[in-house]
Symmetry: C2
Subunit: 319 residues, 2 copies
């Protein structure tokens, strides 16, 4: 299996430079030790996902792109594909589970994409079927080299000036972001440790990497975590191969730690992070004994949180 | 009266470049029209104030600086002076009103400054007295050319690449930020309109500029606004002169509009703004008919909001 290379990430950086915000590295006076944040919650559409989606769509043959693109996602990837397709004036369909929150459906529709509601279990099959029927190009959420290369531009930016981190903490769901970031960081500075972070309640990647065998947890199990963006799927063969080769380790955090990290980020860093986006900061705050020492960058992957949940964690007792 | 020049602001940019974060310009997909945010809530110490404080302390004769610095402030300027003094290893005292919230007192103390609690009405006199007694240099919150030049670096960054705004919206309290930003923006591109924004309940600058006479509202009157950072004082002679010369206009916003802007910023832009920091966005959202057309930058001046207030606006009915 060919893994994504640093050259692929550099090419992606050239492509996404047209659209993605180069988010700053924010020093955290409030955190003990030496922590910087990479706030991709400030990215267009509220998460890093625009990088991979835009890079994948930019890489399509123009005729193929004009025919249209499609994906399956109820979350940030759906918004990102809709945004990127609009930028290329390509038709776009997003297959979403029919019980997705109205606010997420509206966000995709507002970007001009067609929303196709189906039962959760049928999302992938329906998207693949529509792609064939209509001649749309399928842009998967993480299991594609162009998507991984696009997400890797987060890692390039982390290593391009400012602090030189000894540790980079990155959330792991399907593994696209972690695969891309590890590819970039390890190529630029092999001595920097890239550590994945997962919710304890959806720790299938940790189990896969420690056992050496790709393992997927049932959705009924992972649905218990508050970190909805890291729930729906295990790694793919492609992301597992990247993480197995390039990740230095993986740590898990509890849901209480995630909630506390969301609150700390709002109070001290003035950033709104979604639970999935806060797991790396949770690891820094609460699992430091499991991490290497040294200047650390934590990637905040997204900010699309239900305002009521944010209000709830802000008024809860701090940890 | 000599006004601050663009050269002064360029010199300040050189000085504060060592410490201040160059905050990005964030495009707002969620706002109708064309809006970019300059998020100084992500700045060190949570507001733009570090720019002016650091520039003023950097400009001191080294011997004078070693003797110590002092200021009066219960808010963001106090934290900024404490931070900048620590960076120069200078002794620092901050005179605060004795009913200031514990969280603000602790923030200053945590930065290594001595906190001097006094009744609100005595703050300035005590600070001036201690400055004389101890030989400390007084760094006022806004009525000083070096402070204004430092705040002006926000304007330089707004005009340095990215979108070319036709309108810049900036909060007005004591007028230091607006004076500096207007100085920079009008020098770089005279056709860009710089508009100040004030709470309707503390609109002393609007009254001063429309009447042409410096007017101060009593604290009992301005204390009604939720925008605590824009309450405590009127303009000074120096900031009045800058705004009279360089500001293109001033608009006011209601407290309900400010609350709605805080909520929109958290929900859509994933930024935590304090009420004072959100007034420029409130003007864009709710007083657009009073503003010139065209690409607009709104300065978010700070993010130090009480978490309970943030939770409250997040769960209130949206406007």
């Amino acid at each position: 299996m060919r893994l994504v290379s640093i050259d692929d990430v550099h090419r992606a950086a050239h492509a996404v430079g047209d659209v993605a915000i180069r988010t700053p590295l924010l020093a955290c006076e409030w955190a003990e030790g030496r922590l910087w944040l990479k706030p991709e919650n400030l990215q267009l559409t509220g998460s890093f996902k625009i990088r991979g989606a835009y890079n994948a769509i930019a890489a399509l043959d123009p005729d193929r792109r004009r025919a249209g693109v499609i994906t399956y996602s109820s979350g940030n990837h759906g918004q990102a594909v809709a945004y990127a397709a609009r930028a290329f004036e390509a038709p776009c369909a997003v297959v979403m589970n029919d019980d997705a929150p109205a606010v997420k459906v509206e966000a995709v529709a507002r970007l001009g994409a067609e929303v196709v509601p189906v039962p959760l279990a049928e999302r992938v099959a329906v998207a693949e079927g529509l792609a064939l029927d209509r001649g749309y190009a399928l842009v998967p959420p993480f299991a594609h080299p162009d998507v991984i290369a696009g997400q890797g531009t987060v890692g390039l930016e982390i290593m391009a000036g400012g602090p030189t981190p000894d540790v980079v903490l990155v959330p792991v769901g399907g593994g696209g972001l972690a695969s891309g970031v590890a590819t970039a960081v390890k190529a630029v500075r092999p001595s920097t440790a890239v550590i994945g972070v997962e919710p304890e309640l959806a720790a299938d990647a940790a189990e896969s990497l420690s056992s050496g065998v790709l393992t997927t947890w049932p959705a009924a199990r992972t649905s218990r975590t508050i970190a909805d963006g890291l729930r729906p799927t295990g790694l793919s063969e492609l992301t597992f191969a990247h993480l197995h080769e390039r990740l230095d380790g993986i740590v898990t955090v509890t849901d209480d730690q995630i909630r506390a990290a969301v609150a700390r980020l709002a109070r001290e860093a003035h950033l709104v992070a979604e639970p999935s986006g806060a797991v790396a900061v949770a690891a820094y705050l609460f699992q430091r004994d499991q991490l290497p020492d040294g200047p650390t960058v934590a990637v905040i992957s997204g900010g699309n949180i239900d305002p009521r949940l944010l209000a709830d964690v802000l008024t809860a007792d701090p940890m």
